[in-house]
């Protein structure tokens, strides 16, 4: 075959060790700032890999991490997959029952744990669920008092490893990593990342306007247990950029200090982090002048925050999009040619999109019947994607694979999107949260956001209720502010408020006032519980009677 050698993570590590041996990895740990070079890093990665090898681990063996972003975690990022085993990054913020599900589903052999997360792991420990675990390894050079066993500390674990260990030739189709979906419905599902998927994703986030290059100082604030830290730890090494790891539960003061002291040029995190940093920068003397841009994803980024960053910090927030199933980044809100001179407001409008699809991928939006919809900035459809870093199979879940992956490799994202003429994608809702009315779709998220924009509303959730003619109609459950007395007046005001912004048939036929919206473990509204608790025959009857006559 003429087609070259396999796409594995090895070449990226090799390049950093040899071409950028003096570039640094700076790690904020429970003990303070730790600093070393890629040359030293490489030796320790090889020591870790050789120990795993000696212990007989390899293809099909999952080595789990339970940690914040630090250099030990980073060593596992390359050491585990380059040796041939598979890195399973457990989300440390999950409830105990989910952690148990993950460990038993993945059959983790080793769990490498951040000492600051030891209590949490002990709490989640369950003998049956953790049956596969042969070794706990605590990051650092001491083993704290713990009920977990057998246990050792990381430094002892790798002490006798070989710093010159040569990695085996690993097949590019072999899984290198694994993360679980957050599982808003049902149990979390495993997604595996092959070496080739990581390789392709790594190349991708080194391209384009926002690509990571060797002159960058990159700090992934996004946790390394969130879809491989959005793949940035891999790309930073591949590019030869300096890596900054913000450690346990980083507060705005920590992030600001690292940016200032280490000269961070690019960073990535969820919007909440950027809001916190702005607040901190307003109240303290912080030098963020080296920062070129911050990538914001995971949930939609408010335009007001983007505007404030430009105006107050001269830093650009750029939105992006992706999911556990897509390694994750598929879209970044790059500017297109000719947009350099847009006025501030238009520029923010562009930067707030989920973005343009990355080179190497394909996408489309489709309606209920799977028919492709136009890119006109209006049509709403489910977003489908395919490409080298879009998964085509869930772990241990053939029924989910069948439901979400088409025969020709398209992944049904479950996200409802519109695409404008320029190719910018906006994510408006989850498929499951849509109200399907008369063959058309109503975005429950947009309607509830509109309702929550009213000053007298504390919380609101919109759910579909079945209807004999229209299939489904939206019903809004609203928690009014405590001092509101005229609920009838508020109801009418909310109807008008929705109708002003959206087609009239988007207006909920029934608006019910309740005391509280039921919430799930992560604090998000649980529409499932809401529907079970409140949608009864009385509501269904009201919906049927109130059906919109003017559709």
């Amino acid at each position: 075959m003429p087609g070259g050698t396999d796409m594995t993570l090895r070449s990226f590590l090799w390049r950093a060790e040899n071409v950028f041996p003096e570039r640094e990895i700076v790690s904020r740990t429970h003990e303070g700032i730790h600093r070393y070079t890629y040359a030293e890093y490489g030796e320790r990665v090889r020591k870790l890999a050789s120990v795993l090898d000696e212990r007989g681990y390899g293809e099909g063996d999952r080595i789990a991490t339970f940690a914040w972003n630090n250099h030990w975690h980073h060593e596992a990022y390359f050491g585990v997959p380059c040796q041939g085993a598979q890195l399973h990054m457990i989300n440390i913020l999950l409830p105990d029952s989910h952690i148990q599900h993950l460990v038993s589903d993945a059959e983790d052999k080793v769990v490498v744990v951040d000492p600051v997360m030891l209590d949490k792991l002990e709490g989640a420990y369950d003998e049956e669920a953790f049956e596969s675990v042969e070794q706990f390894v605590v990051m650092g050079d001491t083993v704290p008092e713990t009920s977990l066993e057998p246990v050792t500390d990381y430094e002892s674990f790798i002490a006798d490893g070989d710093p010159d260990y040569e990695f085996p030739d690993v097949d590019e189709e072999q899984p290198a990593g694994m993360c679980y979906t957050s599982g808003t419905t049902g149990k979390p599902k495993g997604v595996e990342y092959t070496h080739k998927m990581y390789w392709a994703h790594t190349m991708s986030i080194m391209t384009g306007e926002l690509g990571i290059t060797n002159t960058d100082v990159e700090m992934p604030v996004v946790p390394m247990f969130h879809v491989s830290g959005w793949g940035r730890p891999f790309a930073t090494v591949a590019a030869g950029a300096k890596t900054v790891l913000p450690g346990p539960n980083p507060e705005p003061a920590d992030i600001a200090a690292l940016c200032e002291n280490e000269g961070v040029t690019k960073s990535a995190a969820v919007p909440t982090v950027w809001r916190g940093l702005l607040q901190y920068a307003r109240e303290n003397d912080v030098d963020l002048s080296e920062l070129e841009y911050v990538l914001s994803g995971g949930s939609s980024t408010p335009k007001g925050l983007m505007r404030d960053y430009r105006a107050e910090l001269d830093v650009e927030i750029v939105a992006g999009y992706g999911m556990t199933e897509t390694t994750p980044v598929t879209h970044v809100a790059e500017l297109k040619p000719g947009m350099e001179d847009l006025d501030e407001e238009s520029r923010v409008d562009v930067r707030a999109h989920a973005g343009l699809i990355s080179p190497g991928l394909e996408m489309k939006i489709v309606d209920d019947e799977g028919e492709e919809l136009p890119w006109d900035g209006e049509a709403l459809g489910e977003l489908l994607m395919r490409g080298p870093w879009v998964t085509t199979e869930y772990f241990n879940a053939p029924e989910k694979t069948e439901a979400r992956v088409t025969e020709d490799g398209w992944l049904r994202t479950g996200d409802i999107a519109r695409i404008d003429e320029d190719g910018y994608v906006d994510i408006v809702d989850r498929v499951d949260d849509l109200v399907k009315s008369g063959g058309e779709w109503i975005s429950s998220v947009e309607v509830e956001n509109r309702i929550m924009g009213h000053e007298d509303v504390a919380e609101a959730a919109v759910v579909p209720v079945e209807h004999p003619t229209w299939d489904e109609r939206p019903v809004a459950f609203v928690v009014a502010m405590e001092d509101v007395e005229d609920l009838e007046g508020l109801e009418e005001a909310l109807r008008q408020r929705v109708a002003e912004e959206y087609p009239k048939w988007w207006t909920p036929d029934v608006i019910e006032f309740i005391d509280e919206i039921p919430k799930g473990s992560t604090g998000k509204f649980s529409k499932k519980d809401l529907a079970e608790q409140y949608v009864d025959d009385e509501i269904r009857g009201e919906v049927e009677e109130a059906a919109p006559g003017d559709r």
Copy 2:
């Protein structure tokens, strides 16, 4: 398998058509400037592909081009491989016998020919060699008088094609393209590029300091028949950049006009092109202000030229390296962190290296025994590379594959290189041109360049001559300037000149003055002919007697 869908060229074309439909391709043809958008381009690419499909072409069928850089050629770049057939880009500058070898070796089914190259192709035509060819297609909308048959014009050929044609799913390991090595020794050998190799190479040249992005206006002056135009036509489409194609035999005036009129930001070509453009810019009023950098490769770029570009045009020339077997780009002379503020001379020193290896590849230099050598800026060894866009098999030449590709996928480049502590590679010679003396290597190219640096020397070539003790010793054949009378004095001066710069044992023991160095078809020195003509027993005797005593 979780590993995503195949890496094919389809996604790059799709993205340009849909995300950048209004970006332009500007093509200088025999008829003048032609201009259209990626949307129009995509429709024509699909028409071409559908016609190939209808005619029964597909996997294993090679469609050849014989053309300069124009939009018809560019349509074949995507239309042929996305349909499933294979694009064979014939080097139009080869001698007739080589062209015959290429067409018969590749068994080309269709040859798409530039009208300005029709005479040349007719001259090379040979009934037996061209037996596989079922159709000649002349770019444009008319068929000139020609002896080739059956023949049609390109516009008629695609006229009934389907602009909405959907490309089939092509396997990423399927060959998409093919070029032949220039074959300085023996017949040219075919190198095939799979979809995956092109995909990886495309991503690669979109990364880093010099990566092509959507705001670029990119003009590949390097011919599209030279290793796929160094892969730039693919990356320009993938990035959504504007494409400028300089057409038949572009003169400096043409290149300057396209840069100025189209706002070219990045370009790539051999050093000769850049020398010509500089000369033109000195004598004419040219605006090259949009030009950010030009990539220079194919042969080594003089530092003087680089300095002049910086000083006179404010344009940076950056050297790169690659070969037919590597798709081709493997190295680019990027700056490393901290080099932004280098003084002019040091900066040019960096930019003149073959460069840093690209992320995703691995390399090493090895001695005669295959032992790896250090990166110390001194050790000379053969450069070996491997990675996803480094070929692991020659076409139709198993003996060559065996000689050049190791079992673990390393390609022996045949180039002798040194690597400095920073990872910058310098190519000093071809293995075949080395003089192996007493277990050490002498670079014939460096010695002859040193000799040619003397003002009384017109030409010089250094060849190895066998020696009973030292294996080989260098002999220099020198053509003196016409007015030189004291040849003995010159001989002594040349010896001193070499000894000043290199170890004493690099000095040629015998320096022979001759009238002319024999040259091959491309105008390069033919050392094979030189040795056959001039190295006789007398020379061998002289070499034996003169063996250096001080080694």
